[in-house]
Amino acid sequence: MKRILVCVKAVPVSAFVEVDSQHRLKRDGINLQWNAADASALEAALRLAGEDGSVTVLTMGTSKLESPLRELLARGASRAVLITDRRMAGADTQATARVLAAAVKKLGDFDLILCGCKAIDGETGQVPGQLAAALGLPCVSNGETLEADPDGLTITRRLETGTQELRGRTPTVISLCAYSYPLRLPGILGMRRARNIPVEVLNADDLGLLPEQCGLKGSATKVLAMESRFPGMRRGPKETDLTLGAKALGQILREVRP
């Protein structure tokens, strides 16, 4: 496998977040981390690329992501690209896929495009498919393992009730489950190497995109209302006698079962 692109997203670390008056996640002042499933995609890419291949990481987000991208270079990526532009704020999955597809075309030919299957903030999982559709490529979602041989790719994919084994060929888009491939740690050599690789920064103009193709304006969906909802405290009664507890639980089971 020669050239692999990995799409990554920075997501809030905290499990509970707030939204602004435009119904956008408040991303300022919160700690960000790379989405777990995207980290798996990067590790899968690094293994497939081996010594002679190249792995490009691509993200869209705030200008503050330059140094987190550098960390991915230290972990083994050979090239890092940041798309950042205020005009892209509030993009839905379609506007996001349009921007990513434009960047993929600009950055060159890739044998394989890997993504995480969904981000823990938006949880839509729609970008990989829409990116594939924009590029006219096949897309396999929810991959658990991914192997390459000279004739193609073998992918195992987790569904609700079982596992599919699929055979594909390059180029293609594949999204991977969280924790399918734990991402390696940065090594001393990697950190040294990362210092000499500049993070490439692109905006809408660089990608030949008009403002109405990006962000809120370029989106096909609109958020009408959003409310934060901390999981409600229920604070039900507590039982310390196991026999009585089992009895009460039996009653609850009878209620919930038809």
């Binding site: 839509t124 999982g125 729609q126 096949p138 594909g168 999981p231």
Partner: protein, 303 residues
């Protein structure tokens, strides 16, 4: 009322078909696999498209094929169950149709000709109302959200649709998980945390889950410790579930775990630590040894 197209190429979703029938006043066109036309009709579908296809591997090609048919039918509203496969196919259809698509909705309502879609995001900590800005409005809907209703259509029209395109991705094999109810569709979830302590402990929970017809869940720490496979993980980096009953054994209640199960109908927590945070989020708590309780439940014959 506008027609609603419900795409169920891998198996009819009776709850979603019933909801679509209610929203559209009976104007439902349902795409179902061969042999499921009677089920679609029983849920109120007025027009049924019976799909004839070999096992599908290239979902991108299938999506392009469906997008072309949807143009022909000129359906303004397209729904599908939010299964792994349809959550891959619907975004690609939406791209081809330039349609707005909302993922994994848990509520739907019509406001005039607009479909207002409500979905949870970021665990269950945000609820958003979303509409499409495009002529075609699309959504995937979390399976099990709406109860199936019998509402037989008197004379449904049935047509056949054949899909036999050349595929770039081929399906070699499918292996079903051994036994048990799929976690995302389970009405009861029996879940364990670090407190369960071992793989053997989870085997006991699995026996209990089987007895109750429940799905088996696990916290991230239990999965990390190797007690249960990742596919059982409930929470931010796992699966979000909303069963009628969530039974938490030896789970302390980290916010990341709560995010994946706080939408459950009833939550019962079993933990030996009376101060475990999970008790704050439970409708009923049992303070004590999870295994002793599990043994009791396994012995009970009436359950």
């Amino acid at each position: 009322m506008k027609e609603i197209l419900v795409l169920c190429p891998f198996g009819a979703d009776p709850g979603l078909l019933s909801k679509a029938a209610a929203l559209s006043g009976g104007e439902v066109r349902a795409l179902v696999p061969q042999g499921e036309t009677a089920l679609a009709a029983a849920c109120g579908a007025a027009r049924i498209v019976e799909l004839q296809a070999a096992p599908i591997g290239d979902e991108a090609r299938f999506a392009a094929f469906l997008a072309e048919r949807i143009r022909g039918w000129s359906c303004p509203l397209v729904l599908a169950p939010a299964t792994v496969q349809m959550r891959n196919i619907m975004p690609m259809i939406a791209w081809h149709l330039k349609a707005g698509l909302t993922a994994d909705c848990t509520q739907l309502r019509m406001e005039g000709e607009l479909l207002i879609q409500t979905r949870p995001a970021f665990g269950n900590s945000l609820m958003a109302d979303i509409r499409a800005l495009s002529p075609i409005q699309m959504a995937t809907v979390r399976p099990g959200t709406f109860p199936p209703q019998r509402g037989e259509h008197p004379q449904p029209g049935v047509e056949r649709l054949v899909y036999c395109e050349e595929e770039r991705v081929t399906l070699l094999s499918y292996r079903a998980f051994a036994g048990g109810t799929p976690l995302s569709q389970a009405q009861i979830v029996v879940a364990g945390g670090m407190g369960v302590g071992s793989r053997e402990g989870f085997q006991k929970l699995e026996r209990l889950a089987d007895k109750l017809g429940a799905g088996l869940g696990a916290s991230r720490t239990a999965v990390d410790a190797g007690f249960a496979p990742y596919r059982c993980q409930v929470g931010m980096t796992g699966i979000t579930v909303c069963p009628r009953l969530y039974l938490a054994f030896g789970i302390s209640g980290a916010v990341q775990h709560l995010a994946g199960m706080s939408g459950s109908g009833k939550i019962v927590a079993v933990n030996s630590d009376p101060k475990a945070p999970i008790f704050d989020y439970a409708d009923y708590g049992i303070v004590g040894d999870w295994e002793a309780l599990a043994d009791k439940l396994l012995q009970e014959e009436i359950l």
